[in-house]
């Protein structure tokens, strides 16, 4: 074993000192022969005889030297190194080719690696939990309410937890809003300046279901779910470092959050998140036990469970479905048609971005293939100019295998250079991409360069030479190829190159059609009327801590005072507030009864908002009918509401909504009547691409939901507006902090962020693809013209007209383009239909898009052909004939 190791070490060293060792051995052999010759002379031979006899006795010094050389090093590696040296020389020699090849590879590999980095951050990198594959998300489904993946009610959650036998445990966390992680704002006081934090309410079992051991301390116990035992907190690593400077004695320390005190019982490790990276600490939900028995109507819990070992997801789904059926029978009032849907937890987090990420991964794969096809094409073109060099090497005894090996080594060296450059590009672009992708990715995604990203670049660099190197190496080392004067051989290479161009065109068409569909979607989306005017409106959320603002009256007073003060500030044109602002989803929904309907005929999922009367004016939401809310609509007065257009259309089925009455409940609930006093235009809620749902606006003086988000239309710059807001809020209560400070324009932009991100990326890919395809077309046609210049010259000499020659060459160049375009269109038809879910306002089979893509490609192809075609008409017959 030792001997083997020493031998290997010595052989490796031998590779690097091969010349010195060769010289050394030469001298040793010379000395040996001299001594042998001298002995022979002493025995009486003549010097000549003696020398000959010595060589004979020694036994072929040349072979022995050769053998010794091979035994000293590792011949395989040495040959490879020799090939690499040779490759480097030829890379320098064919500089133009090498630079184009390396640059395009760098783009292909860089783009592939960058997209892989994003996709892997969302789809592949394992979640930081124990056995994350066994974690499932449990949703409520209900066709009556249009739910496919809804949050659960506490009582249903409690029954699932109690009745199931397929999970080791079930846990829940609060998800009050459809927007973001569902984390609430809390205020940490007593540690420096008061600061707003994102806290998530969880049941005692949540962190233990996830199974990540805390870095310090412990996680929650089941008991701590309930009010009375719930003043405990588990904090994240980031918060521990930022707010507490990594205090090692943090466990047991008491902290004040929004006026209540909590004992820190645990710190989670670095890299842990749940369910998004915005959440900084976890607090028990602190409910009365009765909530888990009685609250079956409202839904606000995200439910996570851990499958027992040996229970598959479908088995768990079946078991849970039968539990849901039981609950449906037991509670027909609330659970009619209420089912459950189980999803792998990771899949549930990545649900929304998945289609776009898969599409982009596919697109970047196509781009990679185009890059490879392009390089193969260039290599074939170069093979002709190299034919003489290769034929000499062959004449000197290099077999075909040896030539292929050497050509492939060249490809690998080029690919390695491209890979290194590509990885550098991907790393450099990582920060920019991560920021651009932020709006398109879920809150847990952490786009960074990790080992898998580097491995991806390495893998692509290894795959690339197989794709672009093998075919040209085989073609250019083929024996007949070595004739160097081959009309016949150039024809077969020409056919191969045309095929490659056709492939490039076909693949490009797919990308171009895809990106045009996305661009048209984005344009449609930008044209959508959001239903409000985002211009110069800043927004911020204000949470009033329950400890100091215990009742509606105190809260109303504080909010009204803040609104009044802000309104009086110079530069502020209008101020309003609402519990939910446009494009930020929704928080409260419920059943609703329209006056005069049958007992069983009622509406579901009506969206509620509490607003101050000036909210509409500030946001620029148009009044269609009736009047605005005002001071008449206060406590003690008849309940009134403004409804949106969707509600007016849907609930009243064509009749006028004004003056009609509805309740916030089912007919049997006998809720108080609310009179509709106005109808406003729809403001988009879930996104510009989603239809607005029926919604009702109440004056906060009659019905208040908190927290409120203030909107402020100003004539001053955003920064000054925010400063004004901070100052006035501080004047009312110095412990209040503004959260989610933004502008409505930013909200609108953000809502299009995912569309914009994928459109930008795919368009960039399509652009590069077109450029490469044009390069391919140009290269092949230029070669054609240079090879046929003699023929063209003869034609000219025989009286052919130059325009006819121009047309001839263009026709030659266009032929593979047409073939490729036909194949590409068929491919695009097949592939883009899976894109439908990513489109808005455009059909995947949109004929104008296809026509435009073809026109674009046609223009580019003809431009690429025109230069060589023009050159063909400039051929001087005399020169062309003399050349041969």
């Amino acid at each position: 074993m030792r001997a083997f190791f020493w031998t290997l070490a010595s052989r490796v060293r031998g590779i690097f000192r091969s010349r010195a060792l060769d010289d050394d051995f030469d001298r040793e052999v010379a000395a040996h022969l001299e001594m042998l010759t001298a002995d022979n002379i002493r025995r009486g031979m003549t010097p000549d005889e003696a020398r000959r006899a010595a060589v004979l006795r020694f036994g072929g010094p040349a072979q022995i030297k050769e053998q010794q050389h091979d035994d000293r090093g590792l011949p395989f590696i040495e040959t490879t190194l020799q090939d690499v040296r040779y490759a480097l020389r030829s890379i320098v020699k064919y500089r133009a080719f090498s630079m184009v090849a390396i640059a395009t590879l760098a783009i292909g590999i860089g783009a592939g690696t960058a997209v892989f980095g994003i996709a892997s951050a969302v789809l592949l990198r394992p979640l930081p939990y124990q056995d994350p594959d066994r974690l499932v998300r449990v949703f409520e489904t209900n066709p009556l309410r249009g739910w496919t993946r809804n949050i659960a009610s506490p009582a249903n959650y409690a029954d699932w937890k109690k009745q199931n036998t397929v999970f080791t445990d079930v846990a829940a966390y609060e998800q009050f809003s459809s927007n973001g992680s569902g984390a609430a704002d809390v205020f940490l006081t007593g540690v420096g300046e008061p600061q707003g934090l994102k806290a998530l309410g969880v049941t005692g079992s949540l962190l233990s279901v996830l199974g990540t051991p805390p870095l310090m301390g412990r996680t929650f116990t089941d008991d701590e779910t309930f009010e009375g035992k719930s003043r405990v907190a588990v904090i994240g690593y980031g918060l521990w470092q930022s707010a507490f400077a990594g205090d090692p004695a943090i466990i047991g320390r008491t902290i004040a959050l929004s006026g209540r005190t909590y004992d820190v019982v645990g710190v989670m490790p670095r890299g842990f998140f749940f369910p998004g990276r915005d959440v900084q600490l976890w607090l028990p939900v602190a409910y009365q036990p009765s909530v888990f028995v009685n609250s079956r109507r409202p839904h606000w819990l995200g439910v996570v469970a851990r499958r027992r070992p040996g229970v598959s997801l479908p088995q768990a789904q079946d078991a849970m479905t039968s539990i849901a059926r039981g609950l449906e029978r037991q509670y027909p009032d609330t659970n009619t048609q209420m089912g459950v849907r189980l999803e792998n937890f990771h899949d549930s987090l990545a649900f929304e971005p998945r289609p776009a990420l898969l599409m982009l991964s596919g697109a970047v794969g196509v781009l990679f293939l185009i890059v490879c096809a392009n390089i193969a094409n260039l290599q074939l073109g170069r093979a002709v100019t190299r034919a003489r060099e290769l034929s000499i090497r062959r004449a000197l005894g290099a077999g075909r295998g040896r030539l292929v090996r050497q050509l492939l080594t060249e490809s690998i060296v080029i690919s390695a250079a491209g890979g290194v450059l590509g990885l550098a590009l991907a790393v450099a672009a990582n920060a920019v991409l991560a920021r651009a992708a932020a709006a398109a990715l879920p809150l847990f995604a952490d786009v960074r360069v990790d080992r898998s990203v580097v491995l991806c670049a390495v893998a692509l660099s290894l795959i690339a030479p197989l794709v672009f190197g093998v075919l040209p190496a085989l073609a250019s080392s083929a024996p007949e190829r070595l004739s160097d004067r081959g009309a016949t051989s150039s024809r077969s290479t020409g056919a191969l190159r045309s095929l490659l161009v056709a492939a490039e065109v076909a693949l490009s068409i797919v990308l171009v059609v895809g990106s045009m569909l996305l661009v048209r979607s984005l344009l449609r989306l930008q044209d959508v009327d959001p239903g409000f005017n985002p211009d110069r409106v800043v927004a911020f959320t204000l949470t009033l801590p329950g400890a100091r603002y215990p009742n509606q009256q105190a809260r109303l007073l504080a909010y009204s005072e803040i609104e009044r003060r802000l309104r009086e500030q110079p530069g502020v044109q209008s101020v309003g507030a609402s519990s939910t602002i446009a494009l930020r989803g929704y928080t409260w929904t419920g059943d609703s009864t329209v006056e005069g309907r049958a007992q069983t005929d009622y509406e579901r999922e009506l969206r509620h908002q509490s607003v101050t009367p000036d909210y509409f004016k500030t946001m620029g939401i148009r009044l269609l009918e009736g009047r605005w809310l005002d001071d008449r609509d206060r406590v003690g007065q008849p309940l009134t509401a403004i409804v949106n257009e969707s509600l007016a259309k849907k609930y009243f089925r064509g009749a006028d909504a004004l003056g009609k009455r509805i309740t916030y409940g089912r007919p049997i609930d006998k809720s108080p009547w609310v009179t509709i006093v106005g109808v406003v235009a729809d403001a988009k809620q879930d996104g510009l691409d989603k239809a607005a749902q029926p919604a009702v606006y109440n004056n906060i003086a009659q019905q208040m939901q908190t927290p409120l988000t203030f909107v402020m239309r100003t004539s001053v710059p955003t920064d000054s507006a925010i400063a004004i807001a901070r100052q006035q809020v501080g004047a009312v209560d110095k412990d209040l902090a503004l959260t989610e400070v933004t502008t409505m324009q930013a909200v609108v932009d953000e809502s299009m962020g995912d569309h914009r991100f994928r459109t930008t990326l795919l368009s960039a890919f399509a652009g590069i693809a077109l450029f490469l395809a044009a390069l391919g077309i140009y290269g092949v046609l230029s070669y054609f013209v240079s090879q046929r210049s003699r023929e063209l010259g003869i034609r000219l000499a025989l009286g052919a007209k130059r325009p006819a020659l121009f047309a001839l060459v263009i026709g030659q160049g266009i032929r593979p383009v047409v073939t490729g375009a036909i194949v590409g269109l068929v491919g695009a038809l097949a592939l883009t239909s899976v894109m439908q879910s990513l489109l808005f306002g455009v059909q995947a089979l949109d004929p104008p898009t296809y026509a435009m893509a073809l026109a674009l490609l046609g223009t580019i192809a003809i431009t690429a052909c025109a230069v060589p075609a023009f050159r063909a008409t400039r051929v001087d017959p005399l020169v062309a004939l003399r050349d041969e």
Binding site: W6, S10, A31, G59, G60
Partner: protein, 113 residues
């Protein structure tokens, strides 16, 4: 084969080189080749060059070491010397060799009967 001059097994040549160096002290390649020929009383006649394959093998395993020196008649030559690891190996191989030789001898005697 049928010739009286035997082909030499690779391992055997290595063993002979080691034994030579152990017995004679540092020697150059030519000296080793001469010595082996003398000891075998010319029963073994090798292409002297093949000795270098063995010398390289042994060097790579660090059983012998090499350095340039001057020969008796004032020529530059490369001298080889056995190392400690080489001695250990030699002892092992010698034991091995005698054991196998014993076994084969017995086997041959048995089949003669």
């Amino acid at each position: 084969m049928g010739e009286s001059k035997s082909e030499i097994l690779q391992g055997t040549l290595d063993l002979m080189v080691l034994q030579t160096l152990e017995a004679m002290g540092p020697l150059h390649g030519y000296g080793i080749a001469r010595r082996i020929e003398q000891v075998s009383e010319d029963a073994l006649q090798l292409n002297q060059g093949t000795i270098y394959a063995a010398l390289l093998r042994l060097q790579q395993r660090r059983w012998i070491s090499a350095s340039w020196g001057t020969s008796d008649n004032n020529r530059k030559a490369k001298f080889y010397a056995i190392t400690r690891a080489g001695r250990r190996q030699l002892a092992e191989e010698t034991a091995n060799w005698s054991r196998i030789a014993g076994v084969i001898g017995r086997l041959l005697r048995l089949s003669e009967r």
